[in-house]
């Protein structure tokens, strides 16, 4: 139920959103939500009332998983509201819910640190926890602080189903005390941030997929859902063929969590897997664009864990070149030390067959990293020029956040 004040706030926000779109100053989601929130701070809760909402959070994979979840929830009647523009704080959520007031369901991507108060406002039916790792080095607080904040926020919502990745030590810690957890083995390739136990400070020991703390009774729970190269496995011997339009093992993990959450809300498992499999592009990522004589596949990597994942998706078979673009603006983080944590040695062999080009505003940092990794490479700061410098054919492109946005704006 939306109050009179809430209606006024939303109307003002809606006018601002249309004005922002009409003047071409933005997609409008942020400004409309910001104004509505200013006029009525309780508007998010009012908009969410009466719907069944799912919150999706984690360092990486939020947008992709939210897209897959929205597709799966779409197989239920009633419609789905979702913040597909990727604006994942209060203003973006308000806008997403305001443009789709009648939808009975909501798939909401939420920034990690915003989960506690967003959950208090929307009273979610389920919360999906993907993974937690270091984001931009120079900006974000310590990862253990984020985990403790999430843990405290979840404790206030014992009725919500928590769909948590048990391969991620920090996510497991955040969800460990919740009464209603569905554990999913969604994978966790980046162990560097979880050598120490978030609950005791002692060492985490690993044995195959398993892990356990040496300081307290805290170990990997048995998953209800897991996946392999062909199938998604679920409760009671459920085994469904899983084919995804998106590349990479990490997206199979994202799909597993999206499906588990959708099933918790009553979606038929087979229908959920089929729907998640249709997602083929997320805000310009993963799409292939024709740029003159080059077909360019666009991969985004925002942080060390994201780079590990994106580089594992780069397919040099049949490619005419690889372009890697790095910026160091505020949203990227100004500190690019993480370049030294990424295994660029991976490109030593492909670089003998095809050009590997360092690009972006901080392309020189990357070029030095590639040089010390023993990867033959060139340096062309302008990303489009770097693509043009490749022989005609398919180009694999990996970029960090603002480098990706800049290129996307210049592409058809």
């Amino acid at each position: 139920m939306i109050t009179a004040r809430g209606r006024l706030a939303l109307a003002a926000g809606s006018i601002a959103r249309r004005a922002s779109k009409a003047t071409g100053r933005g997609a409008g989601a942020m400004i409309g939500g910001l104004i509505a929130m200013k006029l009525d701070p309780t508007v998010l809760g009012q908009l969410a009332a009466g719907r069944r909402s799912v919150i999706v959070t984690g360092t990486n994979g939020k947008s992709t998983t939210t897209r897959m979840l929205a597709a799966a929830l779409g197989t239920l009647p009633g419609g789905v509201a979702s913040n597909t523009e990727g604006a994942n704080m209060d203003a973006g959520l308000i806008s997403a819910l305001a443009v789709n007031k009648t939808a009975a369901l909501a798939a909401l991507e939420v920034d990690e640190m915003h989960v506690p108060h967003v959950a208090d406002a929307v009273d979610p039916a389920a919360i999906v926890l993907l993974n937690l790792s270091r984001d931009q080095l120079d900006r974000v607080g310590e990862i253990n602080h984020i985990e403790r904040t999430l843990r405290a926020g979840l404790a206030r919502h014992p009725g919500a189903v928590v769909v948590a990745n048990c391969d991620d030590v920090l996510v497991t810690s955040a969800a460990y005390d919740c009464p209603n957890v569905v554990w999913v083995a969604a994978g966790g390739s980046w162990a560097n941030d979880s050598v120490s136990c978030p609950r005791s400070g002692e060492v985490i020991v690993r044995d195959g997929a398993g892990w356990a703390s040496t300081g307290t009774d805290f170990r990997r729970p048995d998953p209800a859902w897991w996946y392999d190269e062909d199938f998604l496995h679920g409760p009671d011997g459920l085994r469904l063929p899983m084919r995804l339009a998106l590349p990479g093992t990490v997206n199979r993990g994202n799909a597993a969590q999206a499906v588990a959450a959708a099933v918790a809300l009553g979606v038929d498992p087979a229908a959920a897997v089929a729907a998640a499999g249709t997602v083929d592009e997320v805000a310009g990522r993963y799409r292939t664009v024709q740029v003159g004589p080059h077909s360019v596949r666009m991969l985004l990597a925002k942080n060390p864990a994201g780079w590990h994942e994106a580089l594992s998706m780069v397919d040099t078979t049949g490619a005419a070149g690889v372009v890697i673009a790095v910026n160091g603006q505020v949203p990227d983080g100004e500190d690019l030390s993480w370049l030294w944590d990424v295994n660029f040695e991976h490109f030593v062999e492909p670089a003998r067959r095809l050009p590997v080009i360092a690009a972006g505003e901080r392309g020189t940092d990357l070029a030095v990293r590639l040089g010390y990794a023993g990867v033959e490479h060139r340096l062309t700061h302008d990303t489009l020029a770097a693509i043009a410098a490749c022989p005609p054919g398919h180009v694999e492109l990996v970029a960090n956040y603002t480098a990706f946005l800049q290129l996307n704006r210049r592409l058809p």
Binding site: L137, V195, D335, S337, W340, D341
Partner: protein
Amino acid sequence: MTVRIGLVLPDVMGTYGDGGNAVVLRQRLRLRGIDAEIVDITLDSPVPDSLDIYTLGGAEDYAQRLATAHLLRHPGLQRAADRGAPVLAICAAIQVLGHWYETASGERVEGVGLLDVTTTPQPRRSIGEVTAEPLIDGLTEPLTGFENHRGGTVLGPDARPLAAVTKGDGNRVGDGVDGAVQGSVIASYLHGCALARNPELADLLLSQVVGPLAALELPEVALLRRERLAAPRRA
């Protein structure tokens, strides 16, 4: 001979790409035709004292404490430093190698004691690009790096500063110096990674192991130095 580079506790002390320092050391030897290898020293084994050179990097709260405890329990690094093996300590490693450091919650943690320094939390974190003029023999070029630390480090009489800061904070806001040099240990708050941005420092460390080194022309490294030395420090 093969130069063996000890990368100390990369599993807990590698917050800021500091493993890159070992890669730079190895590659700068190999590019000159000298065999070199990196030995990862992790929490599940003692610290060997037999390696030629050691590097340590940054860490966050719990991890820093685990590293300190491990180095005290298995004092191979201390024995190697006593016989003159070069040690490069970056960021939290300065704090770990000092007499003690105080955590953000006010607890005092006993350090390894290789450096005559102590560390207490500053009111705010020091974050951003740093430029500094070196103060020790063998270095003539300005140092460049990125700092990100809450701890403020004070030097005792047995430790000398590495450099005079011309942009950024260094050891502690207002002191105007970065790093600590004592015996064979060189420590600095600059990461980025440090030796990628400061090849002269890399070669200074290596020359203590293999003797004088021929110059190495790497145009991209020279370009990176020009870019980073000119980069502004954001407010």
